[in-house]
Amino acid sequence: MLEVNESTPVAARRSQSRLISLCINGEWREVAVKPRLTLAEVIRDSIGLTGTKASCESGTCGACTILLDGRPVLACLTLAIECDGRQIQTVEGLAEGGKLSAVQEAFLDQGAVQCGFCTPGMLMSVTALLRENPKPGREQINKALEGNLCRCTGYNAIVDAVLQASGQGVKPVME
């Protein structure tokens, strides 16, 4: 292996894998990652949790949204190596003991899922929103979800689902 010190020409470097530990949905995992791997690639390919979607990979669709230390971030624009020792929650971590979360149930009740590709990102953004604002209005919901694109354009049902999950008088349309 190449020794890197101050006199080594930078061009001669080869990036090495480094061992990092991630707490994903409450479970600590150790993974060897190269610096160029994104968190989305590690979550999907190394850990095997494929609920998180990688779509545009340039920060414009929000399908890869996960919670990093409780904050919604884009896993496709986060290097995994920067997340050593941090708490990650993915869509798989929303259900507790086999029971879907209130937000997930509301998405089902409102038919807020069409092709379903944006749904994991939507669920994570909504979960983050409801944690800091338990009763958001329509405008606040729109603003909070501006970074999540639904190419089926099923936004009304999604906003209704957030209103239902936050107990604001929207009734389920599907039982």
């Binding site: 101050e6 930078v10 061009a11 470097r13 080869r14 990036s15 090495q16 190269k34 610096p35 160029r36 994104t38 690639e41 990979e57 340039s58 920060g59 414009t60 929000g62 949204t65 904050r71 919604p72 971030v73 884009l74 624009l77 986060t78 290097l79 190596i81 920067e82 953004s125 983050a128 729109n142 603003k143 909070a144 979800l145 501006e146 970074g147 999540n148 694109l149």
Partner: protein, 334 residues
């Protein structure tokens, strides 16, 4: 997915990061939020050999200095900045501009310094090279400019899209820059060169370390970001106005107007400021000034909008933003 290998060094402090960048030379780039750098690496617009990660550096809370100026660490995340009670109270213009950036996720990741230091954009430049038509453009080391075939000046007509920079320019903010030789301060406008090839005036081993905004007294403000959708996009024009009225509540005592998403750098509109300063601010005068702005700006067509459309857009929204600032200045003086 980034298709080339690079190395990663984590900096514990900003000073460490500057030292690392100085030692590693041109091959290294600082990585803050990554929302601009990583997509550019993915499209291979930049191919650094080493990234110096700033994410381990905790920003201090925004703090008031002795002269009432507000000092904000550059590594502060945009979301925390927009939520800071102190910033919202003292600098609502800045809070509003930060709130207009990207999406919730982008604001959670992106930093203040990173927003100011973002790469310029054009429909051609920010593409994966395989998707480019034939050959690299001037900015990628080629010999032509595809979006502007008549651009024969060996330059790049890409556009700087920062939402925050015009607000800071309107607030007369200063930027603190940390380099191997220590820190220095420049005006917010001087961070930009006006060249699309190299938009930033700071050198390789330098970092934006803080932003210092002077105290604003009896100031009205206006902010507008023109977009098609209203969320998660780069602006058609981003307009920031900061304005003070004289005692009679009609005459303009001082005004600063800055616009971005129009040229290779965010612009201060000197001719508009001259037309308004010392003049009574009635509707006609504001409309005149907004019409004048088009001559000074001469926007580069970007994102598929024609020059004519961009000019009309600026004329209308600059007038409305000025009116908004006057309104706020009047209610503040009451």
């Amino acid at each position: 997915m980034i298709l080339f290998d690079f190395d990663y060094e984590r900096a514990a402090t900003l000073r460490d990061a500057a030292a690392l960048l100085a030692r590693l030379g041109d091959d290294a780039r600082a990585l803050a939020g990554g929302t601009d750098l990583l997509p550019n690496m993915r499209s291979e617009l930049v191919r650094p050999g080493v990234l110096v990660g700033l994410s381990g550096i905790e920003p201090g809370p925004p703090g008031l200095e002795a002269d009432g100026a507000l000092r904000i660490d550059a590594v502060m995340r945009l979301a925390s900045l927009a939520q800071s009670a102190l910033v919202r109270e003292k600098l609502p213009l800045l809070a509003e501009s930060v709130h207009a950036v990207g999406s919730r996720q982008i604001r959670e990741m992106g930093t203040l310094g990173g927003n100011l230091c973002q790469e310029t954009r054009c429909l051609y430049l920010n593409q994966k090279h395989d998707y480019q038509f034939a050959a690299p453009c001037f900015k990628r080391g080629g010999d032509c400019c595809y979006p502007f075939p008549r651009n024969d000046r060996q330059t790049c007509w890409s556009v700087h899209m920062s939402d925050v920079a015009p607000a800071l320019m309107a607030l007369d903010a200063e930027i603190e820059i940390l380099g191997p030789g220590g820190t220095r301060r420049i005006g917010a406008a001087d961070l930009y060169t006006g060249s699309g090839l190299k938009p930033l005036s700071i050198r390789g081993a330098e970092l934006v370390s803080a932003v210092i905004v002077p105290a604003q007294q009896r100031t009205g403000w206006g902010f507008h970001k023109s977009t098609v959708r209203g969320g998660l996009e780069f602006g058609m024009a981003v307009i920031a106005v900061s304005l003070q009225l004289a005692q009679d509540r009609t005459t303009c005592a001082a005004v600063r107007v800055a616009v971005s998403a129009v040229r290779e750098r965010p612009l201060r509109l000197a001719s508009v400021e001259r037309m308004l300063t010392g003049a009574p601010l009635d509707g006609q005068r504001l409309a005149q000034a907004a019409t004048e702005a088009g001559k000074e700006i001469n926007p580069l067509p970007h994102h598929g909008f024609s020059r004519r459309h961009l000019l009309d857009n600026i004329r209308v929204y600059l007038r409305r933003t000025l009116e908004q600032a006057v309104e706020r200045a009047r209610s503040g003086c009451a």
